[in-house]
């Protein structure tokens, strides 16, 4: 029953606690920077402050989906449950931030463009990525925990990864209405806005790592518990349960 102990009772590692505290500190710094340090934008007014969570959320979505795809590839190669747990965690966290992007973007667009939604290339491809990973999560939730389902879901996550460069470069390739203030040529951001955005990126990086780690630990614990239950049943120890 060592697996069962490891599943439910293990204390979080010290590094996890350090990461959690650092994330909390960065959250406070980030919120202060967004609402008290960053200037109000000339054309759009205060609604532009959605930018400091909207853009890093898109970046967090990329991180989550890339983690899911890489871990899925690892699972298909190694067939280790730990890879599968990381893939589930990455897909869930990526989908969470995809939802945040798809909700915060239209609220900003209502002010900036006059409409909540338009079939702009970047918006459409982001919605497509969200639908692919929604299918992944639906398959993992309702498709059973068999090997075939896990392998099919892993393939789906890898296919979903193909959409990430399309989202990123859609603005450059197909124009559209989506702004492109962050470019390789330095962008068009006020220095104080750029500093605030940088702080947001640091916070979101820590937050994504913390969420994926925590969720993967929970998934791994669930897997170990299932293994322990199977082992106990095999030994005939669960007849009265």
């Amino acid at each position: 029953m060592a697996d069962a102990h490891a599943a439910g009772r293990s204390r979080p590692p010290t590094l996890w606690l350090v990461l959690a505290v650092a994330t909390l500190v960065m959250l406070v710094v980030d919120l202060w920077a967004i609402f008290f340090y960053a200037p109000v934008e000339l054309q759009m007014g205060v609604v532009q402050k959605i930018f400091y969570f909207h853009v890093p959320s898109a970046y967090a979505m990329y991180l989550g989906f890339i983690t899911a795809a890489v871990a899925s590839a690892g699972y298909l190669i190694k067939r280790k449950d730990a890879w599968d747990a990381v893939a589930v965690a990455g897909a869930e966290v990526g989908f969470l931030f995809c939802l945040i992007v798809l909700i915060s973007g239209p609220l900003w667009a209502r002010k900036a463009w006059g409409v909540y939604w338009t079939w702009d290339p970047r918006l459409t491809t982001t919605l497509l990525a969200g639908m692919v990973f929604a299918a992944y999560l639906a398959l993992r939730s309702f498709g059973g925990a068999g090997e075939a389902e896990r392998r099919f879901a892993a393939g789906l996550a890898i296919v979903g990864l193909l959409d990430i460069p399309i989202i990123h470069y859609s603005v450059q390739r197909w124009q559209g209405q989506h702004p492109t203030v962050i470019t390789g040529r330095g962008g068009g951001l006020d220095p104080d806005m750029r500093t605030t955005l940088l702080v947001s990126f640091v916070f979101f990086t820590l937050f994504v790592v913390l969420l994926v780690w925590t969720r993967a630990r929970a998934e791994r614990a669930k897997q170990r518990l299932a293994e322990a239950e199977i082992e106990a049943a095999r030994r005939g120890l669960l007849e009265d349960a």
């Binding site: 009772r9 909700i103 006059g114 239950e229």
Partner: protein
Amino acid sequence: MIRALVLGCLLATSALAVAAPAAAQPEDPEQVDPAEDRAATFQRVEGPVTEDVPGGPLLIGAYGIIWLLIMLYVLRIGLLQARTARDVTRLERSVAAAEKK
């Protein structure tokens, strides 16, 4: 023959081009369709400029929804961990009871 046809076409086209702007002008300015007039003019705002779409509620709504989603997800992870710990306890009790027999 062909040269005469081409010359005729050119003359007719030129005559139409000269006559078209004059034909486009309405004979009576008061007979202009009001819908056409609305579509073709921009009017200045009289008095102080106000925003049609207030940004504050959109900003508060966006951050409110973002934090609600994040809190719900953290709660989901917490519930998953609590359920796993409960199942571990149940499994240990079952195994302990079976081993006593």
